[in-house]
Subunit: 403 residues, 2 copies
């Protein structure tokens, strides 16, 4: 991979938000390990160095009723060195879709010897593990892990930590382009290679998103929701730096990766707010603006790295119904943050009203926030999960051994 170095960054306290980086070559070939130093502006990252990072990176694929063809394509795109955890929340009745997924992934693993772990979000043992670890907030009234992609991501993060790896990366299961999945994971690895330290977050901004417009394809750069989300996050940053900025381009980035040290020391928002809340939380905790809390060790240097992918983002159409929720969810994280100045609150209300997304009472509902994962007793969780994994050799058909 050949990648541009970031040309700028915004700093608040211990948080550095880097400007988006361009990719010049998906595959820069082999070479001596480590970063190529040959150029001041563009870095060549040899294949071996990327593989070395990938071996330390668990890729989590949240699944919910995606077509099996698409899930298989995503697995095809994930580089072999990465262990994979598929967290499914697909319904088990009237058709047991989870069984079909396990079967199809197991079959795929027969051919590829890929280490893939498949778990179901509603597995009572996983719920019991969270309860045992003192993180019962993630459980619903039925005692199982709540529905939601964010909840699946939390589960995947904890399992990745238990596998003893250093990084966790997320990839959606509804991607039509195995080549794009492959690119995202190379980019995660590139970010971790370029940014040393245990508190790094890598976020992908899509090159474009093809849409059908008037019987033809149009390559949109920004969705309606990400445009608003980035704008509001940038206004938040600008408020504290005093300089207007458009540095944040990945507010809603579903494609992102974190060092596990960072991921395991963050609270998580639910729903569409999960990704923008990363920014809000990191600024709250390490931005040096609010009084310091128990978790935020200001000696940590937090690096948020943004990379512009080269492949378009081409995923299964889910309809437009969720866009309103998405805008409301992501703006709510900023609105309800103790960092949010009154002027920005007014702007958020005006924006939501303009978009027709403001509830009738004019109040922006807060987003559910799960506690900091640092509060989870990992050893108590591990005890429960070890038993579960031993009981479940069929799920990964011999692949679990490789994890």
């Amino acid at each position: 991979m050949r990648i541009e170095l970031p040309r700028e960054f915004e700093r608040l306290g211990a948080v550095r938000i880097y400007g988006s980086q361009k990719i010049y070559e998906l595959d820069a070939g082999p070479g001596s390990p480590g970063c190529g130093e040959e150029d001041g502006v563009v870095r060549r990252l040899a294949a071996e160095s990327l593989y070395a990072v990938q071996r330390e990176m668990v890729v989590v694929v949240p699944v919910r009723s995606e077509r099996l063809k698409l899930i298989e394509g995503v697995l095809v795109g994930i580089p072999q060195p990465c262990p994979v955890i598929v967290v499914s929340n697909s319904p088990r009745a009237p058709i047991d879709r989870f069984y079909l997924e396990q079967d199809s992934i197991g079959n795929f693993c027969q051919f590829t010897r890929k280490p893939v772990m498949v778990v179901h979000q509603k597995d009572p043992q996983l719920a019991a593990a969270f309860a045992a670890g003192g993180y019962g907030e993630i459980l619903g009234e039925d005692g199982l892990i709540r529905d939601g992609k964010a909840e699946g991501m939390i589960l995947g993060t904890v399992l990745a930590r238990l596998l003893g790896r250093r990084y966790v990366g997320f990839v959606d299961a509804d991607n039509y382009l195995p080549g794009a999945v492959n690119e995202y994971i190379r980019e995660y690895a590139a970010a971790f290679l370029l940014n040393e330290g245990d508190h790094v977050c890598a976020r992908i901004s899509w090159h474009s998103k093809p849409k059908v417009v008037e019987q033809a394809l149009y390559f949109a750069k920004w969705g309606r929701s990400s445009r608003q989300c980035n704008r509001v996050l940038n206004m938040l940053v600008s408020h504290f730096t005093g300089f207007e900025t458009d540095i944040i381009r990945t507010g809603n980035a579903g494609e992102h990766a974190l060092t596990l040290d960072l991921a395991m020391s963050m609270p998580y928002a639910t729903g569409y707010a999960v990704e923008p809340f990363h920014f809000v939380h990191l600024l709250e905790e390490y931005g040096g603006i609010l009084p310091q809390t128990a978790h935020g060790d200001m000696r940590r240097l937090i690096k948020i790295c943004q990379i512009e992918s080269r492949n378009p983002h081409f995923h299964a159409a889910k309809g437009d119904g969720h866009v309103d929720d998405m805008v409301r969810g992501s703006l709510a994280t900023v609105y309800h943050s103790p960092l949010c100045p009154d002027s920005l609150k007014e702007e958020i209300v005006a924006t939501l009203r303009h978009l027709g997304c403001l509830p009738e009472d004019g109040l922006i509902p807060p987003v559910r926030i799960y506690p900091n994962l640092a509060q989870l007793d990992l050893e108590a969780f591990r005890t429960q999960v070890r038993e579960l994994l031993e009981r479940r050799p069929g799920a990964a058909r011999g692949a679990a051994a490789g994890l």
Copy 2:
């Protein structure tokens, strides 16, 4: 890359046509060089082995007025070890599009240090080189190389041979997915790794081709033209083997690669017939059916390898106008072959009539065929081209040195 071994092949004389092979992993990681032998059905090809082949493979990108953004994306997708030749036939007036291409590619090479050679199909020196080499058939009445992608591919092949490499692969410039380009080239390398010898042809069958149908996307597997082309080629094979077959799935494959020994010993058809004519020619020359000709050394074992790509083929829409020409052109190569039995001739006429592609006189016009490239005096060509390349340092801005 992890790839299935072909499950079947059809043999005619010295020609083996392998059944299409499935890809299980785009990137199977690093490992000991050579083919992984761990499995009887699926082979793991380590990154190092693929790179070793890529270093010996020139990638030719024919360009004609494609958007610069797309050309850059294609270059981003080509793995670094491959030298690249861009053969442009873009108009030089009223806007000098070739100048824009050179400028944009030169700029890109500044960042990537990618070895890219850029030539124009209408360059008088290249025409002079073909004339000096005794291959004047490729020149039009104006003394320059004729228009056409096939003519650009012939030029690219000869230049690749002059660069001293072993393989040549073709990639279209209008591909929206850098990740797909990357995949094709890995697949070419995989084919050459799995199939030893100097007479190998690798052809890609697309996973699917997204189309806009009723305001939504539909992933078509076969275009109208490739369906007919494959059907007729399979009927030709079946006629001689006595067994009905559907083995040929890449009759029209624009994405293909050849060992240069094979590419330099073939005649070429023009227009849309160039790719299906590979099959027709190889069967004529090495199929053991016709009396042997001067070029076809039957001791050669010709291997045609077909690989199903995992990324969809997503390219710039050119409209449907060319499909009729495409069907007519590809079926004409079979119709006018001395191999074609009368029954198949009747079938071809009936097919074209049914599709509304038969000319009014009921006669299928023959396709222009250029002589076997073995007739080109390569040393005479080289003398002309060496001078040209020395005169043109700006074209590749220091990148030519790397070729």
